[in-house]
């Protein structure tokens, strides 16, 4: 579905230029693909390139065979695309039904009876049928996100791109939204970009990790977890002393006899009683980012 070869994106020119993506190569098939990375990793730039909004500086991007660097290719991609951006701006005076209908018109859905039927279907799908005729300005954050996904689905897209969709949602809305995305991925490609590890772990079979515009990892969540085997530890301290020598504290648990820390890093020498723990996706992500940082530091010192 998506073929990316040596993709580079640079904003600005000269000394003020910012490298958003560096020599990125990646292929994505149908199903749910998660893209994980810290803020500023280049995820949104990649999403926008795939959506035909931003042009690559170098390299090639093909979506279902269409070249994302040409006007003709971008138009073809947009016609088969559903896109939910990170900053979801809506029209407050429109009702949910009007908003999705308006967006369907922009997507060249010209047959009015068929369009209205489809609008009703997608509003039902995202659980907004009861609120379809309420103005968007009265919607909660979660309802606005659902209206956004309804708009993204109205043209029955082959590719659905969702950028940080669960930011700002309460836990219940997040779970509901994740389940909806999994359902949608059964018959199309869904690309989920997020910095929330849990969202990827709960939904994606394939994932990539992006940092500073580079792809650090591409594979399954189990593979990245496997790479962190032997790097996750638990340490219980009774004096409140927080372990910090080369280790990253992922979480801490207050117990009756002290505080238990979950650490990521090599064997914590100052705590010989440290117990190895089974890594989760969040631990593995922290280990991956930590390895990258240490690799960069060694390179700089060398």
């Amino acid at each position: 579905m998506i073929e990316i070869q040596h993709l580079t994106k640079v904003y600005g020119r000269g000394a003020k230029s910012v490298w958003a993506l560096r020599d990125l190569s990646l292929s994505i098939d149908e199903g749910m693909f998660g893209l994980l990375g810290p803020n500023g990793a280049g995820k949104t730039t990649l999403m926008r390139i795939l959506a035909g909004i931003v042009s690559p500086s170098q390299g090639s991007v093909r979506v279902a065979g269409h070249d994302a660097s040409t006007e003709k290719g971008k138009t073809a991609i947009k016609a088969m695309l559903g896109y939910l951006p990170q900053e979801l701006g809506l029209y407050p005076e429109l009702t949910a039904r009007q908003f999705v209908d308006y967006m369907a018109i922009l997507k060249n859905m010209n047959d009015e009876p068929a369009r209205r039927k489809r609008v009703a279907e997608v509003l039902e799908l995202v659980g907004l049928a009861q609120d379809a005729d309420r103005k968007l300005k009265g919607f909660s954050g979660g309802m606005k996100r659902r209206a956004g996904i309804a708009h993204a689905l109205v043209n029955d897209p082959r590719l659905l791109i969702v950028d940080e969709p669960t930011s700002g949602l309460d836990p219940e809305e997040r779970i509901r939204f994740r389940n909806l995305l999994v359902d949608l991925a059964s018959d199309r490609a869904v690309l989920l970009s997020t910095h929330i590890v849990e969202d990827i772990g709960q939904t994606c079979r394939e994932m990539g990790v992006l940092s500073h515009g580079e792809l650090l990892f591409r594979g399954s969540p189990n593979e990245v977890i496997g790479a962190a085997q032997g790097k996750v530890w638990t340490v219980t301290t009774t004096n409140g002393h927080k372990p910090n020598h080369g280790m990253t504290v992922v979480s801490m648990l207050h117990l009756s006899d002290g505080t238990q820390y979950r650490l990521v890093g090599p064997q914590p020498g100052e705590f010989p009683e440290a117990q190895p723990a089974q890594p989760g996706l969040e631990d593995a992500y922290v280990w991956l980012m930590k390895s990258k940082e240490e690799g960069a530091r060694v390179k700089d010192e060398g």
Partner: protein, 223 residues
Amino acid sequence: MKRSSTPLRYTLLTYRLDHLWLPAAFWALFLLLILFVPQPESKTNMAAAYLGGALPLLAGILAAYAILDDPALELQFSSPRPAWRTLFERLGMILVIVGLFAFSYQACMALIGIDLSPLGGIALRQLAWLVPCLALMALGSAGAFALAQPAAGAMLVALIWMVELLLRSWFASNEWGRYLFIYMGIYAPQNPYLIASHASLLALSLLLLAGSWALLKNQERYI
């Protein structure tokens, strides 16, 4: 592929209707001023100032904000709709709104007995507001896209409007300035170069609109 036009109700509902308070307020303000000014000649000048001065300024400012101020700009950009169509629909709606204010103002002037004949016949009277409106709309739009800021486009419109107002005598008489003079229709309607001035402003407007279209295609500059 067949393309549908956006229904008028959506064009209106997605437009920032609060922007319309400004032309409406000016409409009422100029009407009040005319009612309180005693001399008939001053009344005519005041009416002309709204049509050929205030209205084009407001049209230019509204045009600068017409697209880049859209709250769902990224969603608009993710649709396969071509840039020229978005530009045409948004600026076209502003022109319709400005036209409604212009016609209703002229109707109101006729009702209260203000003579607008010094501006010329009916056709020339319409050109006196339409041409500067188009010129400043094109300038506001191109400026906003070139500087990637609606406020910058609006400032550019205000600057040109002010410079031409202050130097109106020079613009009306200079052999090059008169072809860029937006107030010719109200300031010197008897000038033999009036039609040539209108024609050059229209041509310039088309060039600026073509520039706006080309700039709007480069969507990544605006998100």
